[in-house]
């Protein structure tokens, strides 16, 4: 078994090389089927079920009966592959489909997301990953319990972990539901169920080990799917298939057209949709949230060494970067398409409306494109709507012409005039992005329940077999609960996802960082800091969202941690100063954390070797 596994790790390059080749061959095979006249919905089914079958196959092959394999993949994941898995874990449906759309709508100011969701990894590499890896935690609350003497700190950690991960998981399930429903032509609720099955088969038998190898596979699918359409479009429009560089020219053209159309909020101009305070507050909260979200941190528990944990963060950010530095190119190409082929066109006759690009009506039918305030279902509807509104030509104004932010990425194949197979590929990539993030979130929450609550707090004498049964049962329970909540929750629940970052930042970051950097941080200090920081952030979000309170200094509640973070740091510091410093053992524990050499510190992990 051991030898088998080591052979697997030694051959990773070959295995995933063959896998990537196989995936590309599969796409080509579907493209041939399409040319032979196989209908689109069959291609959609093949895309969904074959990719799901591959992920499930990896999940089943990676099944395990060992605790350390289940929780931390046996700590044998090489830095590069852990980087890929982290990138998939990190990039959600929102990154894959939504981000380019936000950049389209907000221009420069949308880059706060690009900066915030990448810069945080510098903090992960320097402040979090190496030290928690040295500790040898199975979960983030494990560390809090060891450092801050006991189960009360653990419980608060679990509560914060749960509250920031649950809404996030619901967002991913919704994302899988929407994508599956578009590809398969089934209601979103059934799509959620398809996603749920996909997630459970991947994670249930093999825990972290299975999720790791599935996430690597999902990363490959999502990055291929993201890069292909925009690369082809760039080759068509600029003659060079490097969209990330060529969109500089596109931006220049956009600026010219903006001037021509009299648009004053230029795409490339900073701080026109957002004031600098909100821009930088958002960047900060997203960065610190990145460094505090448990499903990200726990990926770095799986590397073979502290050294590899550090480089693994670098690889993770590199793989994330490949997608994030392409997203603004999507936004620019989409804006150019709309400026050149939509804006300024006459809508006062059926003939002129019929000359609008085909994608306008393809996505108008599903309600993602509106013209003159009505869904652009067909030219006739558009004509009537615009006649009623007294509009004769399309202007760059949301009341006249607007697209849902998802359209920017998913319409790219039609904009570039590519066959349906590429649209299917993009959907498969979005599905991979949503599923991989859902896997990580689900595992983070279920592990907190099974390891922290059940094993550490309820039944510390439970046998290995029993713990694994409980872990799997709770995984199923959390997944079912999340699916139920996703289906019953109101539509705007997705807006809550962005709050997860602020809640994690203010709730966990100070306790984690001061736990390593400041020996005198003690139990009362950390508990006061966690409760205070989380409480202030939650209060600010709820109070401003319900309209009960005006925002302080006009800071939007997506950046609520701007207030929660200092509160948490100051409380931890002040309360630690006022109470007795931590005992000698804890100070020695911190000294051990700070040096890579030596065994992992967590008792149980040491016992298991």
């Amino acid at each position: 078994m051991q030898q088998q596994r080591d052979a697997f790790v030694a051959n990773l390059g070959k295995i995933y090389g063959i896998y990537t080749g196989g995936f590309l061959a599969f796409v080509i095979f579907l493209a041939i089927l399409e040319q032979l006249g196989v209908p689109n919905y069959i291609l959609g089914y093949l895309f969904v079920f074959l990719t799901l079958a591959v992920y499930a196959g990896i999940g089943i092959l990676s099944r395990t009966t060992q605790i350390s394999e289940y929780y931390v993949a046996g700590r044998r994941v090489p830095a590069v592959y852990n980087g890929m898995a982290t990138a998939a874990d990190w990039m959600s449906a929102a990154s894959f489909i939504g981000m380019a759309g936000s950049l389209y709508l907000l221009g420069y100011d949308g880059l706060a997301f690009v900066l915030g969701w990448t810069g945080g990894y510098v903090l992960v590499a320097t402040l979090i990953a190496p030290y928690l890896r040295k500790f040898g935690a199975y979960t983030v609350p494990d560390f809090l319990a060891a450092r801050y003497g006991g189960n009360f700190a653990r419980l608060i950690g679990v509560i914060i972990l749960f509250s920031c991960s649950m809404v996030y998981l619901m967002g991913q399930l919704k994302g899988t539901g929407v994508i599956a429903s578009r590809l398969l032509g089934i209601p979103v609720e059934y799509g959620v169920f398809v996603g749920l099955v996909g997630i459970l088969v991947c994670s249930m038998l093999g825990g972290m080990r299975a999720v790791t190898w599935t996430q690597v596979a999902q990363y490959i699918v999502l990055i291929v799917a993201y890069l292909i359409p925009v690369t082809i479009l760039s080759a068509q429009r600029t003659g060079v298939p490097v969209p990330q560089i060529m969109y500089g020219q596109v931006l220049q053209r956009i600026t010219e057209l903006e001037t021509q159309y009299g648009i004053t909020k230029h795409h490339v101009a900073p701080f026109v949709n957002e004031d600098p305070l909100n821009f930088f507050a958002l960047v900060l909260c997203l960065m610190i949230g990145t460094a505090a979200l448990p499903h990200v941190i726990m990926r770095f528990f799986t590397t073979p060494s502290v050294r590899e944990a550090r480089t693994s963060v670098g690889w993770a950010l590199f793989f994330i970067f490949l997608l994030y530095f392409t997203a603004p190119a999507y936004a620019a190409f989409a804006k150019l398409e709309i400026f050149e082929n939509v804006i300024g066109k006459a809508v006062d006759s059926l003939e002129s409306i019929q000359q609008l690009p085909a994608w306008v009506f393809i996505y108008g039918k599903v309600g993602l494109v509106t013209i003159c305030g009505q869904k652009a279902v067909d030219p006739q509807t558009v004509l009537q709507a615009c006649q009623q509104a007294g509009i004769t030509a399309l202007a760059f104004d949301p009341k006249v012409f607007s697209i849902d932010r998802d359209v920017v990425v998913i319409s790219m194949p039609e904009v570039a005039g590519l066959p349906y197979v590429i649209a299917g590929l993009v959907a498969a990539g979005g599905l991979a992005a949503a599923l991989s993030t859902a896997d990580g979130l689900l595992l983070a929450m279920a592990n907190a329940l099974s390891h922290d609550i059940y094993y550490k707090m309820i039944d510390p004498s439970a046998s290995t077999a029993r713990r694994l049964v409980v872990a799997r049962g709770l995984l199923f329970f959390v997944a079912a609960l999340a699916a139920y909540l996703t289906i019953t929750a109101p539509a705007h629940i997705l807006a809550y996802v962005s709050w997860a970052f602020s809640l994690a930042a203010a709730g966990l970051f100070p306790a984690l960082v001061l736990g390593v950097m400041w020996k005198n941080a003690n139990t009362p200090g950390a508990i006061a800091g966690m409760i205070g920081g989380f409480g202030v952030t939650l209060f600010y979000i709820v109070a401003t969202n319900t309209g009960w309170m005006q925002p302080w200094f006009g800071v939007r509640n997506i950046s609520a941690a701007l207030f929660g973070l200092p509160v948490s740091f100051i409380l931890t510091w002040a309360v630690s100063k006022m109470t007795t410093p931590p005992p000698r053992e804890i100070q020695e524990f911190v000294e051990q954390l700070r040096i890579p050499r030596g065994p992992v510190l967590m008792e149980e992990a040491r016992r298991e070797g």
């Binding site: 810069g119 903090l123 590499a125 890579p596």
Partner: protein
Amino acid sequence: MASPAQMEEYWRKTRNLLVTTLVLWFVFGFVIHAFAKVLNQITFLGFPLGFYMAAQGSLIAFVLIIFWYAHRQNRIDQEFGVAED
């Protein structure tokens, strides 16, 4: 295991590297973007420079900073004999 004085020196070097890294992070994460309007007047690879830095430049910097930090920290670990085998 090294002497307490050596350990103190180890942690001092580690902390200096940490502070340097975080300063670089702050510069590329925040400071240069505060000058985005000014930088936008310069053209770089066809991009307005302020936009380029937020869309790509800082991201490349973050990746390089992490690998540089990991490399330097490994050297410190080896120097004090606390690296893993």
